[in-house]
């Protein structure tokens, strides 16, 4: 292991501070005894009680998590394929298909998907339409990261695997996938955060009676976003953390990898 300079540590610590300063505010203010998300008044846990009685908010949070999980899994699957394809084959169209949704303003994406679902597919809007929309804008992020990971990698390993008689699937399983895994997981994490935070596209594609957390919270913006939202955000982070820890626990091979 190389010696890491103290400066690097200091710089990284400052960046973590930058990331966590607002978050600390979010968590602290979830215990604030004031309806306003503005100044500290005193300690209370009442916002958590309010939250646990707020069925709408809880249902919205559950919807958000389900959509985020679904969208990030499927977008990661498709995005990884796209990233590999873009790297391996000299494709002309796919790179554009992948980067354009990232480049397109989300309002346009939202309106166009809404028009398409209703006027072309005659689909009743619901959770499914939201899921499809989220996959569409997450896919590009995954593909770009996966491709960046593959760029500049030594091609000889793939050739060696093929020369040793491995089928394409085996090569993928044994060589490609392990090599790009950090990018795949980074892509999944990005998709998850993109999906769970999306308001604009969700607003347009959500059906009657289907709400997600951002929809719920944005509609409160006019009358004040109460600390109940801080409370639900805090819990959401804990749930996310829990899910990732669980996922890591379940994967026994990872355990072996560490030993």
């Amino acid at each position: 292991m190389r010696k890491t300079s103290h400066w690097l540590w200091l710089a990284a610590l400052l960046v973590y501070l930058f990331l966590y300063l607002p978050l600390t505010v979010v968590v602290i203010y979830s215990f604030n005894d004031s309806r306003l998300n503005a100044e500290w008044v005193g300690f209370t846990s009442r916002w958590y009680k309010v939250l646990f009685q707020d069925e709408e908010m809880i249902q919205a949070a559950i919807n958000s998590i389900l959509i985020a999980i679904g969208a990030s899994l499927i977008a990661t699957l498709l995005g990884t394929m796209a990233g590999i394809a873009m790297h391996r084959y000299r494709l002309r169209v796919l790179p554009f298909l992948v980067i354009t949704p990232v480049a397109m303003p989300e309002i346009l994406l939202g309106v166009s998907l809404l028009l398409f679902f209703i006027q072309v597919l005659h689909l009743t809007l619901g959770l499914l339409s939201v899921l499809i929309a989220h996959i569409t804008f997450c896919l590009g992020f995954v593909a770009i990261v996966v491709r960046a990971r593959l760029t500049g990698m030594d091609e000889s390993i793939f050739e060696a695997a093929r020369d040793l008689g491995a089928t394409p699937w085996k090569t993928f399983q044994l060589v490609t996938l392990p090599l790009i895994m950090p990018a795949v997981i980074a892509g999944a994490l990005m998709s998850f955060t993109l999906s769970i935070d999306d308001f604009v596209i969700t607003f347009f594609t959500a059906g009657v009676g289907v709400s997600t957390l951002p929809l719920q919270i944005y509609s409160m913006i006019k009358i004040a976003v109460t600390p109940e939202v801080n409370a639900v955000s805090t819990l959401l982070m804990l749930v996310t953390l829990g899910m990732i820890v669980l996922a890591a626990k379940f994967d026994k091979t990872v355990l072996r990898g560490q030993g």
Partner: protein, 375 residues
């Protein structure tokens, strides 16, 4: 935490790869779940509404009386709702849009006429709020509540600075604004801000003469350097904590700011007043969307909301103006006495409801708005 992100660890994965992958199973189960929950249907009334625009007690009583479930979806802006419906979103029984949005929905043929026979309580509505320009004869809409776009201010600060609080001049005139630099917010809304400027210049809020618009634009551009922000969302909070001393905004919001400041024990009070030049009155009405599957329940809901007590609960909750005569005796006396919520006849005459613009006017206004934002 396990080393699941590093390549090193993953070189050991090969043995587990023969198992069906966990993510795939999850996806499948997830899709099944999606289809299963969309298939359910009960006696439900779908209300597309502003958030916090009906009190919880009212909802509970309505649900008991109709033996159904009130499901609400929310929007925070008329335009959001209009855009979604214009693209063809469907399934909402009831919507609560503001006057000009009602006009747009009527003219684009998206509404179902109401059946007044089913609304015996319609008689409770003050005739001043019926037969409006946007829906003559109330064929499609029933008044729900209103707000007035006015100025809210930090009473102590304004007094100390010796500034007037009964005129738009304080928002637009540099001689006053000098004392308030960086402490003023105005609404981030083309129509509302232009309306205030037009009113101050002595024109109608619905004036569409381009020359008048240009004068209003110049007035706004002249005042802009003194404003802190165009703000539609956080001025309640900023007023309450004392960062902002003067805000152009809705009477409901000012009511909220006043309550919040009082509850937080602030050393100042938030007051609000309708400028003497007149202002915009936004009347929100209940309308039936054509695609709503349950017009029967929707009519029951409308009639229920026309009962004075139910209507009054909303006013007591958010300080909205109330067009229901029968509601007055249930309204908190402090609110009922507030002239900014229930204006005197004299002021009432100077209130205007915004009418919808046609597409060319909208483009011209949008161009001016862009200029206002950039300059």
């Amino acid at each position: 935490m396990k080393a699941f992100l590093t390549t090193e660890a993953l070189r050991h994965r090969e043995k587990s790869c023969k198992k069906p992958s966990v993510p795939l199973c999850l996806c499948g189960g997830f899709l099944l779940f999606l289809f299963s929950i969309t298939a359910l249907a009960r006696d439900e009334l779908h209300l597309y509404n502003w958030n916090n625009y009906i009190s919880d007690e009212t909802v509970v009583r309505f649900e008991r009386s109709c033996n159904c479930k009130l499901v609400q979806d929310y929007y925070s802006d008329n335009e959001e709702m209009l855009a979604k419906l214009a693209a063809g979103a469907s399934g909402y029984d009831l919507i609560v849009p503001t006057g000009n949005a009602v006009e747009s929905l009527i003219k684009s043929g998206q509404l179902r006429p109401i059946n007044k026979q089913l609304l015996p309580n319609l008689k409770n509505i003050d005739p001043a709020y019926l037969d409006t320009a946007f829906d003559p004869g109330n064929r499609y809409s029933v008044p729900y509540a209103y707000t007035i776009t006015l100025i809210g201010y930090n009473a102590e600060k304004m007094r100390a600075l010796n500034l007037p609080t009964d005129t738009w001049a304080v928002i637009f005139e540099p001689k006053y604004l000098k004392k308030l630099k960086g402490r003023v917010t105005v609404l981030d809304s083309q129509r509302e801000l232009m309306a205030a400027a037009l009113k101050y210049l002595g024109y109608s809020a619905n004036d569409t003469d381009e020359a008048h618009w240009r004068r209003a634009r110049d007035l706004i551009i002249r005042a802009k350097p003194y404003w802190a922000a165009f703000n539609a969302s956080s001025y309640i909070k900023e007023l309450t904590i004392g960062n902002i001393w003067l805000a152009h905004g809705y009477s409901n919001d000012m009511f909220q700011a006043r309550q919040d400041a009082k509850n937080a024990g602030r050393p100042f009070t938030i007051a609000y007043a309708t400028p003497k030049e007149g202002a915009v009155l936004a009347l929100d009405s209940m309308v039936l969307h054509k695609t709503g599957p349950r017009p029967d329940l929707a009519h029951r809901f409308i009639d229920f909301m026309l009962v004075g007590k139910n209507s009054a609960e909303l006013t007591n909750l958010i300080g909205s103006g109330n067009p229901n005569r029968d509601a007055m005796r249930h309204i908190d006396p402090a609110i009922a006495a507030n002239r900014a919520v229930f204006p005197t006849p004299d002021i009432q005459r100077r209130l205007e409801m915004l009418m919808d613009l046609d597409r060319n006017q909208r483009r011209v206004l949008s161009r001016m708005w862009t200029e206002i934002k950039v300059r």
